[in-house]
């Protein structure tokens, strides 16, 4: 056990300040007074007007961090007055970023969607009629039932943005028996995932910043990312204690500006920089030999890469130094632009702090570049070399710090493979190839009967949005589109049903994230429902959350149960049984029962904690909103395994205990196809013998950290089996930098917005509503772009017109614009929110043009603030002009763009976007040709041990 004050053990630490040493002040109302809390009215002050609140905890639904919030529900007005942080939450510890308190705006947004709507007239025509939830459920349920009865199960697809919950909806799809999950992963994190997973099986890092001595970020975790607020707290704490923070980013993020070293490497050269650091660690002798010997598959590495050497540990250093011979600091300076001296200095810093190196890459270079997955792989190489894997102050695997309880909703096996999401061209993709969906529809690989977009806005967020528009406008491709969304979006415009779902304080969800060295669960709940309950209203099994929310805004949990009931009302499809109450068979399960079961049966320590508080586990969670699960977070792979528990296993020649019936012993025989049960993570092998001891190890095929990935080699990519630099599709040496070619970074985030979820917050949009093109003054002069002048950015598909913003905070040769802005609406008085421009869209054949007919301005609404809008800029929708560029291995959209940067031309207006979708189809074909399709070994579609949502049966992996 550590004495770290960051990992919170049960009831061991409090985030409440002691008033006696703090000017008589505490930070949060004491928990025992949450049900009846009195504050003074801020506006009436200095007169003392009391306001009485019930404090009801929930979870923020803006970014993925899932920080705790407390809703202050006014007992007189029955409305939420404000949101503050939840001091009971182990990750956010009572604190929030700007987006937390801004939840109030989302609740009170005067233009939010309050009732279920059904399209009238043409799709995309903007005409809607209000319908009842009953009608929506009946009509959509009947469609799905018909599709399932007709065995068109692949035509039902649920496409989710950031879920903000763990596994509920996957269970629903499993209950329906369909492989219908589609995600946003490949516009977000595919590359980072495969980089991490190819080392340790876990596909996400969990960095213990709080205890680190060196923090190495290829990300902007002080302002964005997973998990901004919890991470920023701990990074800054560590820096205050003396840790060195290093940030690699071609533009000066806020994180870069706080870092002790900002390294603006050329985009896509980050792996080169990292390998140069690795080489220096090796040369300097500042690497953890013993750790490498015990925990990497160095034998395989030597056998596969250096047959000329003896397979003994002493050969490893030589082999690595040989392999990385060209990665000298001087060469790295040339390739990356980071001075050799600084690289040497940083290698010394890293080398001086073994086991205390916390690193992180999530999007950034990973999401930008072809081969960007090697960023995470090369970065984690430094963790491996310094022995900072799962250590206090190091980086762990997410699976060890994330807690995903078993859910009581029934499941059925999925026995087929949906090629619309998991095409054979991308056997290693992490995960679904969602960006290619419109192209698959174009190619008639299939069609969609019922397509759910859930808080997901592909028309705006994905590359090549006009192709999405074309697909959604064509009823022969998408027969019915149901948008589950709290707000209007560019995608909801093209729906047949728009079903309003709640924001952070209006829905049930359970989430856990690997924010730090510790485990927790956070409970999101509809606070008005809870308020009603506390005020004495009985919440029966027939009541629904939309009765308590604004208008008829609902939540997905109940929606899915009720919809499943409509799909299979009498149980003949075998679906209903998965949604039935345990205590009252034949009745739908209620959310209270669902979460009550999880909290009382599936969360270690929760029942005891609840009993100590004299509450049921469900009440306990409704009152606290989060729970820290007792855990010992460090070096879990070193845990000793009881030999008795591996008695049924075979110990192979590498010391791995292989369990019968798992992927670890899969041999491609018909029996193994039939008998293999797939583990969610890894190949099901439970242990590995190290130096005579049986250890838990890593969820990889070797049970060790894979310096050499046999999977990558066997599935067609032997040249990338070890940490390697893959030159990016935007590598600077390939560009005409003397001319007008530049690299565009279109993805960066800012601390106050979150993709398209935050346009309905006035306070956030007031702070940030503009995203000019960052350009170095030297480049601006060279390209003859005047101060504040319009720039035309020409991509492969077309162009967009944006304003220039000169800054010393970007590498010459690179230009950048934040991805947040550029939101638009079609309706004049619909979805204006606080940052959406009015768009005109013209279409002629495959040519599309979006122009901005009106920016933001004051308007009259229920909220007097809408008449005080003082800004006009809303940005430019740049993603429309980007082709799909999926990495051939991970499937990641390689976001960085090779563009021409020129002064705007005659007739160009700010916000113009022009695209030819014929060109997008050509780009799609070209990138598709880079793949090395399945089948892999044993005729499989995908390695059995690779994670994926809704893992089907082994049989479904057979590519026949």
């Amino acid at each position: 056990m550590s004495n770290s004050d960051d990992s919170r053990y049960l009831d061991e630490e409090s985030f409440y300040k002691d008033a006696t040493s703090n000017a008589g002040l505490t930070n949060y109302p004491p928990h025992d007074q949450w049900h009846d809390w009195t504050e003074l009215d801020a506006k009436a002050w200095p007169r003392r007007v009391e306001r009485h609140f019930r404090l009801i905890p929930t979870t923020c639904f803006n970014c993925e961090a899932a920080c705790g919030l407390v809703a202050y529900v006014d007992r007189e007005t029955g409305e939420v007055a404000k949101f503050e942080g939840n001091p009971e939450h182990p990750a956010s510890r009572g604190r929030n970023c700007a987006k937390g308190p801004a939840t109030l705006n989302q609740v009170n947004d005067p233009e939010r969607i309050l009732f279920p709507l059904k399209r009238v007239g043409e799709r995309g025509g903007g005409e809607w009629e209000r319908i009842t939830w009953e009608q929506a459920l009946d009509e959509i349920g009947a469609r799905i039932r018909t599709a399932l009865v007709e065995d068109r199960r692949d035509e039902i697809m649920y496409h989710v943005g950031r879920p903000g919950e763990d596994g509920y909806t996957e269970r629903v799809l499993q209950g329906w028996g369909i492989d219908g999950h589609n995600s946003h992963t490949n516009i977000c994190s595919s590359n980072a995932r495969i980089g991490y997973q190819s080392w340790m099986g876990h596909d996400r890092p969990s960095s213990d910043y709080a205890n680190a001595e060196v923090i190495f970020l290829i990300s902007s975790h002080l302002e964005a990312g997973h998990y901004f607020n919890p991470h920023a707290q701990r990074i800054i704490e560590a820096q205050e204690r003396g840790a060195t923070v290093i940030c690699v980013d071609p533009r000066l993020s806020n994180t870069g500006s706080k870092a002790d070293h900002w390294l603006p490497a050329w985009p896509g050269t980050e792996p080169f920089l990292l390998l140069a650091l690795a080489k220096l660690l090796l040369e300097n002798g500042t690497w953890e030999r013993e750790f490498m010997r015990r925990w990497t598959n160095w034998e395989t590495y030597l056998a596969e890469t250096r047959p000329d050497l003896d397979i003994e540990f002493e050969s490893l250093e030589r082999a690595l130094l040989d392999q990385y011979a060209e990665y000298t600091p001087e060469r790295a300076e040339y390739i990356t632009g980071v001075p050799a001296e600084e690289i040497r200095e940083i290698a010394s810093i890293i080398g001086a702090h073994p086991t205390k190196f916390a690193s992180h890459n999530w999007r950034a270079a990973g999401a930008g570049n072809l081969g960007g997955w090697q960023t995470a792989r090369c970065l984690f190489f430094l963790n491996v070399l310094t022995g900072s894997v799962g250590t206090e102050g190091g980086t762990s695997g997410n699976g060890w710090n994330k807690f995903k309880p078993h859910a009581p909703l029934g499941t059925q096996k999925i026995e087929h493979w949906n090629e619309m999401s998991w095409p054979r061209e991308y056997p290693l993709s992490y995960h679904e190839m969602s960006i290619l969906l419109p192209h698959f529809l174009n190619e008639r690989r299939g069609k969609l009967d019922t397509y759910f977009t859930r808080v997901y806005n592909p028309v705006w967020t994905n590359p090549d949005g006009f192709s999405w528009m074309e697909a959604l406008l064509d009823p022969s491709k998408v027969e019915c589109h149901v948008a589950l969304t709290p707000t209007w979006s560019e995608t909801a415009i093209f729906a047949d049903y728009v079903l309003p779902m709640g924001v952070g304080s209006e829905r049930h969800d359970l989430a856990s994230f690997e924010t730090h060295a510790g485990r927790w669960i956070g409970f999101r709940q509809p606070v008005m429902r809870r308020f009603a309950e506390l005020e004495g209203k009985s919440i029966g099994k027939d009541s629904r959350t939309h009765e308590f929310n604004p208008g008829e805004v609902w939540e997905e949990n109940e929606f899915w149960i009720d919809l499943s009931w409509r799909i299979d009302p009498d149980g003949e499809l075998g679906i209903r049984e998965h949604f039935e109450s345990r205590s009252e068979p034949g009745q739908p399960m209620t959310v209270d029962e669902y979460y009550g079961l999880i909290f009382s049966e599936e969360v270690p320590g929760l029942s005891e904690a609840a009993a100590a508080a004299d509450q049921t586990p469900l009440e306990f969670m409704r009152d606290r909103g989060a729970f820290a699960i007792p855990t010992d977070p460090y070096v879990p792979y070193e845990r000793t395994v009881d030999p008795a528990s591996v008695q049924d296993c075979l110990r192979d020649e590498t010391g791995v205990f292989r369990k019968p019936g798992t992927a670890g012993v899969f041999d491609g025989s018909p029996e193994s196809f039939a008998e293999t049960v797939l583990a969610p993570l890894g190949d099901g092998s439970p242990a590995v013998e190290i130096d005579g001891e049986i250890k838990e190890g890593f969820p990889t095929p070797s049970k060790k950290l894979e310096l050499y990935s046999t999977t990558l080699a066997e599935w067609g990519w032997p040249e990338y089996a070890t940490p390697t630099w893959i030159p990016s599709h935007v590598h600077w040496e390939d560009l005409d930098l003397e001319g007008d070619e530049r690299i565009l970074l279109p993805t960066f985030r800012i601390p106050t917005l979150i993709h398209t979820r935050s346009a309905n917050s006035k306070w956030l949009n007031e702070i940030s509503h503009r995203h000019p093109l960052w350009i170095h003054p030297e480049d601006a002069e060279k390209l003859e772009i005047g101060v504040n002048e319009l720039v035309r950015i020409t991509t492969r598909l077309g162009h967009f017109v944006i304003q220039a913003w000169r800054t010393e905070g970007i590498r010459p040769g690179v230009v950048a614009a934040s991805h947040h802005m550029g939101r638009w609406r079609m309706g004049k008085e619909q979805g204006r929110s606080w940052g959406n421009a009015q768009a005109d869209i013209e279409n002629d054949g495959s040519t599309w043009k979006l122009s901005r007919s009106e920016g933001m301005g004051p308007y009259r609404s229920e909220d007097p603030d809408s008449e005080r809008i003082w800004w006009n800029d809303t940005g430019v929708h740049q993603n429309l002009t980007f082709a799909v560029q999926p990495d051939p291995i991970s499937g990641m959209q390689c976001w960085h763009q090779r563009v021409r940067v020129t002064p705007a031309e005659e007739g160009d207006s700010f916000g113009d976007v022009v695209v030819d979708t014929a060109k997008s189809r050509a780009a799609y074909s070209e990138w598709l040709a880079k793949t090395r399709p399945a089948p892999g070994p044993h005729g499989l579609r995908r390695p059995l041990w690779y994670a994926r949502p809704l893992k089907p049966t082994a049989e479904a992996y057979r590519l026949s």
């Binding site: 300040k17 040493s21 200095p46 949101f83 000066l252 304003q803 603030d865």
Partner: protein, 504 residues
């Protein structure tokens, strides 16, 4: 209760704006105004570029100019040392906005009253930290308890000798900055670039130095707008008040010169003109209030340290004396005029001059702190009085025209010399920027109009008319009109330029 302040830690601040939003939520702060905000500046050249964050807000000054100028004590010192406010007492005069050297006060468009950070005193009262402190992800906002030697934040302040904003203003701020770049705290060292802010539109209300050079060390890349408090009504009031005061100075002079018998032109006419202009002055003052219906609070619960209150009483006293003067005219009593001449001259001069003390209370506006302002206002009053005299002469024969011409010329010349002295002195950077704004920047046209149209041309015209001394040519009257128009132009340039220098 203990005395409180803030420690704002730029060392750990990540520029996330959570404090801004938590504050908006706690106080329901409307769009367009802020009690607290995060300023970004950028310094250095690639790759040695840095962005610096600093939180801006009320400094809870020990010697708070906003409280001193507040005519109704709507801004008051709470028992914990915090400068708090009471919406119910605010008349919306906006004096506090100009008194504050930190851009911390704004008019709430919902209530039309002055609001600012009050340390969340309604939370302090129930034992809770301010909402910005609670929300901050990196604990970069800390409460200092100056009366507790063990208070963590206080110990940091004591140990590290931390800076405050604009210490030269002598306001003794109780908000300290740790790790802030000097240029973050000095709004004159960075400017908003022509291509704008990093994430937000720029309006004319966004604070930036009126000239870029010299001495800039970086770029302001994020900040918030701050409305100009005093505009044309205030410059107008300066002129109308000058006429009201100056005409009676001349009338009193006439009595001294033995013209007390001229009951109509020395007794009735100047007083009538003065009454009219005092009324217009009062009307402008009330109209400039955001809460005009509350103007009587200035008298019923006046704050005696405020020159707005003292000025109101001076204007009131002046009105009473004018009533006496008119009564004397009605009673056709030269004797009474003689008795009133000295008092009315003194009060008229006070009427003209008190604004110098009011402007001096505007600690945020260094241009207005000049010792030359009082003599300037006095000579302007004389010139304005002369103008009134000449214009009145169109309708009735005013006495001693040549004398008045001479005096007016002298006043204009003196005014000109004072302006030259004002703009050519050895200035602080703040004043230099204001002067630049006035003479070369946005106010240049108004300023030149004031100088040429309001000083040079009238002097020439009056000199000619002195020589010619003919009733046929209404040159003096033309000069009078020019003087008043020019004076307004100058005052407006002065009022605007004074407020053009960024404070945050």
């Amino acid at each position: 209760m203990t005395r409180l302040g803030f420690l704002l830690d730029s060392e750990t601040c990540i520029g996330c704006h959570a404090c801004t939003v938590a504050c908006k939520s706690e106080h329901d702060v409307p769009l367009g105004v802020n009690r607290t905000w995060v300023k970004y500046i950028e310094t250095g050249e690639f790759p040695d570029t840095t962005r610096h964050f600093s939180v801006m807000r009320c400094n809870q000054c020990e010697d708070a100019p906003c409280m001193e100028i507040c005519p109704t004590s709507a801004l008051f010192r709470a028992s914990n040392g915090v400068v708090d406010f009471d919406d119910n007492n605010c008349i919306g005069c906006k004096g506090c906005m100009n008194a504050c050297p930190y851009d911390a006060i704004y008019i709430n468009p919902e209530t039309n009253t002055a609001n600012k950070c009050n340390f969340c005193n309604h939370r302090i009262e129930v034992g809770l930290e301010p909402s910005c402190v609670v929300v901050c992800p990196t604990h970069s906002i800390k409460v200092i308890d100056f009366d507790d030697a063990d208070n963590d934040a206080r110990r940091i302040v004591d140990r590290e000798d931390l800076p405050v904003r604009s210490p030269e203003q002598g306001t003794v701020p109780k908000v300290f900055y740790r790790g802030a770049n000097e240029a973050s705290l000095d709004p004159l060292l960075t400017a908003i670039p022509d291509d704008g802010l990093i994430w937000a539109d720029v309006t004319l209300q966004h604070p930036t130095p009126p000239t870029r050079e010299p001495d800039l060390v970086g770029r302001t890349t994020y900040t918030t707008a701050h409305a100009t408090a005093w505009k044309t009504k205030v410059s107008g009031y300066l002129v109308t008040k000058a006429v009201a005061a100056g005409i009676m100075l001349l009338a009193a002079l006439m009595v001294l010169l033995g013209e007390a018998d001229q009951i109509t032109t020395v007794g009735f006419v100047p007083a009538a003109i003065a009454v009219f202009f005092v009324s217009v002055t009062g009307a402008l003052l009330v109209a400039d209030l955001k809460k005009p219906s509350r103007f009587l609070l200035v008298l019923t619960q006046g704050n005696w340290s405020s020159w707005l209150v003292r000025g109101a009483y001076i204007l009131g006293l002046y009105a009473i004396l004018l009533g006496g003067w008119l009564l004397a005219a009605l009673l056709e009593s030269p004797q009474m005029l003689k008795i009133l001449a000295l008092p009315i001259a003194v009060v008229a001069a006070s009427t003209a001059g008190y604004t110098a003390f009011l402007f001096a209370q505007c600690e945020g506006r260094d241009l207005w702190q000049s010792q030359l302002l009082l003599p300037t206002l006095l000579v302007q009053a004389v010139a304005a009085g002369g103008s009134g005299w000449f214009i009145a002469d169109l309708f009735v024969d005013m006495p001693e025209l040549q004398v008045v011409r001479g005096i007016t010329i002298a006043a204009l010349v003196a005014n000109g010399l004072l302006v030259v002295l004002e703009i050519s002195g050895d200035h602080s950077r703040h004043v230099a920027l204001a002067v630049h704004s006035m003479t070369q920047g946005d106010q240049r046209t108004l300023f030149l109009t004031g100088m040429v149209g309001g000083l040079v041309l009238p002097v020439i015209l009056l000199a000619i008319s002195m020589i010619v001394d003919s009733q046929a040519l209404p040159l003096s009257c033309v000069a009078g009109v020019l003087i008043l128009g020019g004076m307004w132009a100058y005052e407006d340039s002065y009022v605007q330029a004074g407020q053009s220098v960024p404070l945050s």
